[in-house]
Symmetry: C2
Subunit: 520 residues, 2 copies
């Protein structure tokens, strides 16, 4: 069988990156300025947080206070403060065209994950950054009439986020709503007259440009799904109610709340006259057809963090049903369980490859199956049954917050541990289960603290620093602080979404030129 | 007696500003864009906040839910959102030189406060903005080696804060330390190698320029004292321990903690080899002598908010002792009681004029005398004795948060009510106890929410919006997020403070030119 023979391809078929033994110590670039840190008094944990951590710790049998690697405790912070400031933030991009299928799970990532192959690591970070973009560009301002939208139009998204060199172009934005009340899911404006009353920007479809397509050996379509930021929301969100999916005999079941967000639509809305499912599938079909007509090899990679990881799996299921010949992989971060064993088995049979990146200390991937008892301030395991009913799909890459010498010791930071930037930092430094943090990890460590406070104080990176100057207020010519109107080009408009695509299809019904998507 | 005859001067001696009767409604400048606001579900008060508010309300006999003026309930938000954006933010500056002494309390503000005379209001706001500058420019970043300093040098302070047109020049920065442990008072850096381990920037001395001096009829020396921001700190700070002050018979007593901050010094420090008291008095003496040599009339106005208001009173006491002929006034905001009746009486005898601006719902002016019982989550009145022992000084201008149609209804926001920007907003709109909020108040309403969330949601001003872009991190040429070094000109240096002043005295021992302080 083909499947079996291909599974004999192992890690060693890929060029091995230079693991320089003996360079576990961080490079010692000495800086003139000494940055010494006072011994901090133990930070006050609120009693609630302490109880939570304790309860969670007991339940998960974690040893929160014990670092993974003792030899990682002594960190040269000067390295970070000065020397590392001037190194590139990305690893070199090798041509991975011949090995792309393996990297995307054709052999279920056997022998690629532990130790983690650098090419795979690089792709994991690449897709994780696609998911991170859905947070970074989201308008969370409840006093904005555009609350819940993307702050930039799709042509400028990567540019505005400093991701211009990622080799992809955004072709479509996806919007979602929900018919049922999924608490703390939808971001709503306080205003009545808003861009949309019911929908949120929920992600996007992007496609590799010619250069990136050459590097990876195919035209790669990416779908990135936005999640919810705070894991506390999950404790309310997940109700543990399974619902049949697809047109089978009803055996295949998935979480009611996730499916509802993925499939809800309403004629009375501006952005969800079609569901997220319909929007994304229409665009994927269009792109697949477009590039296949051109004789290109096409693949679909779906990514998402948290709730976004759940939606990625539902999306993969639907796409695999609809486009059986298309290679489909899912790379998810901190995603909960989505469906039952029949769901997992069918995804497997259809050849969907799923790589779940999971931080050991994160509670979300253990859900459904745990609930937060608000009254008792502790986690309860609902039943063994639920854990058994909801089943994870695919291969797991397990990360550990204690592996990074840059993160705070002790304590427990639920949102911080679940944060996608923490995932990306740990993935960037991961070499293998019994190996120290990668000394030549290049991803900017400051990014971890974008929306949490996980970094050690010694790094002097403020907590939750990702914020606008004066929350977007500017002083006008009269000296008054006002909220400027959003630039017209970045104002969402359903008609523009539709008409642009209509005109695109008219103009590019037969794909001929380069970079067709940027010409729209 | 002179004092009696001068007290017959009343409000009516001053030109009366145009109170246009019938313009209680806000001007109706209609804007094209309708800004309609959804009826908000009652915002969830945390049970703690609710209990606090309830307990406080009962104790203070407040009626939190009842607006002061029913006819203020219907606000035309469009006015603010659009029309008001283009009006000037300051009232016209009239020549007040002939009435300056009355405005500064020569008649104890009788007949000037209710209704509030517009010239007095304008001066109150002016001095309040001097106090506000001590917060706005303060470096609160505990990851900065300059935490606790002023972010700008004294020559650029007003410029950086957009106060260039206030007509004053900063001549000296004041630093303070404390020998006793006053909890939550000192802002400390997490780092060891910092600009100062023991001291905080605590305020400044400024002096009116020639143009402003002409307008007000004298050379006005201002001392602005920084306070603590959160009133919760006060619950710990004030221990209710009186200590003798001055060289009298020991009858005059003031709060131990305040006096300690005002008088502490240590040879081992960089910025408090002399105490705040010594620093400020040396500079005041120097300026008084400088301008008196030039034949000018000179006055001293001391301002401060919260703890800063307490320090202002101690400063006034010392200055009145040292410079008996100098007209001295204090304009304080949300200040606690400072000393006993003997302290009050001596200030009175020495002719110090104190105007205390107090928001009725603010707890801090009621202290010492109340403590927060953390365990029971309620306020306890310690004893009637304490209230009797600690006595307020001077005249009180009482403001009410319910008077402003722009502030949130209901609930109780302890830090918001105590915030200096809330005080300045209420003062700017205050016409009199039984009068509606001033319709032609010009101060920018958005400022209220700088560091709290007091403004009604309808105004669409984010809460706590006064913040740096990405908390001061910037992306360097390599794509990394780094904290830039402070510009050398804004790095505090004790030697520069000293040498600049030494050279100033050498160069300008005899005052001759214009704006001598800017030439330093």
């Amino acid at each position: 069988m083909n499947a079996i023979s291909s599974s004999t391809i192992t890690h060693h078929h890929l060029p091995v990156a230079c693991y320089r033994p003996g360079t576990n110590q961080l490079s010692l670039i000495r800086a003139r300025q000494e940055v010494v840190v006072q011994p901090q008094p133990q930070e006050k944990a609120t009693s609630r947080a302490a109880r939570l951590a304790n309860s969670l710790s007991n339940l998960l049998h974690l040893h929160l206070e014990t670092p993974l690697q003792k030899n990682l405790q002594y960190t040269d912070w000067n390295f970070l403060d000065q020397g590392n400031r001037t190194s590139p933030i990305t690893s070199p991009r090798e041509d991975i065209s011949t090995k792309w299928r393996e990297i995307h799970g054709s052999c279920d990532w056997e022998n690629l994950m532990d130790p983690l192959h650098p090419w795979l690591r690089r792709e994991i970070v690449k897709y994780g950054e696609f998911a991170q973009a859905t947070y970074d560009a989201f308008d969370f301002d409840s006093f904005s009439e555009y609350c819940g939208s993307c702050r930039y139009n799709r042509h400028k998204l990567f540019d505005k986020l400093g991701l211009t060199k990622n080799g992809y172009m955004v072709s479509k934005y996806i919007y979602a709503m929900s018919h049922i009340d999924v608490p703390s899911w939808l971001e709503r404006s306080h205003l009545v007259d808003t861009w949309s009353k019911d929908s949120n920007w929920m992600g996007y479809v992007a496609v590799s440009d010619d250069e990136e397509s050459r590097r990876i050996g195919r035209r790669d379509i990416v779908v990135a799904w936005r999640g919810t930021v705070a894991p506390s929301e999950w404790f309310e969100d997940i109700q543990g109610k399974l619902e049949p999916i697809g047109d089978g005999d009803g055996d295949v079941k998935v979480e009611h709340g996730f499916l509802n967000i993925y499939t809800s639509k309403s004629e009375s809305t501006r952005y969800n006259k079609s569901s997220a499912s319909e929007q994304v599938m229409k665009e994927v079909r269009r792109l697949v057809s477009l590039y296949k007509q051109n004789g290109e090899e096409v693949s679909l990679t779906i990514t998402g963090h948290s709730l976004g990881g759940a939606l990625a799996l539902l999306n993969a299921y639907e796409a695999a049903k609809a486009l059986p010949d298309l290679p489909i992989s899912v790379i998810s971060f901190g995603a909960p369980r989505v469906g039952n064993t029949a769901f997992r088995d069918e995804l497997h049979q259809m050849g969907v490859k799923a790589l779940r990146v999971v931080v050991k200390q994160d509670i979300v991937p253990k859900m459904p199956g745990f609930v937060l008892n608000e009254g008792l301030q502790k986690f309860n395991e609902i039943t063994g049954t639920l854990e058994w009913v909801y089943t994870h799909v695919g291969a797991e890459l397990k990360l550990d917050v204690h592996a990074s010498p840059y993160l705070k010791r002790g304590g427990f930071n639920l949102p911080g541990v679940h944060s996608l930037e923490t995932y990306l930092h740990l993935a960037d430094g991961f070499r293998g289960t019994n190996l120290t943090f990668r000394s030549d990890a290049r991803r900017d460590i400051a990014l971890v603290n974008k929306a949490c406070g996980m970094l050690a104080n010694e790094l002097r990176i403020p907590e939750c620093w990702y914020q606008l100057d004066n929350k977007g207020l500017v002083r006008n010519a009269y000296g008054r602080w006002v909220k400027p109107n959003r630039e017209p080009e970045h104002i969402p408009s359903p008609s523009r979404e539709v008409s642009l695509h209509a005109s695109f299809v008219e103009m590019h019904g037969h794909y001929q030129g380069n970079q067709p998507l940027l010409s729209v």
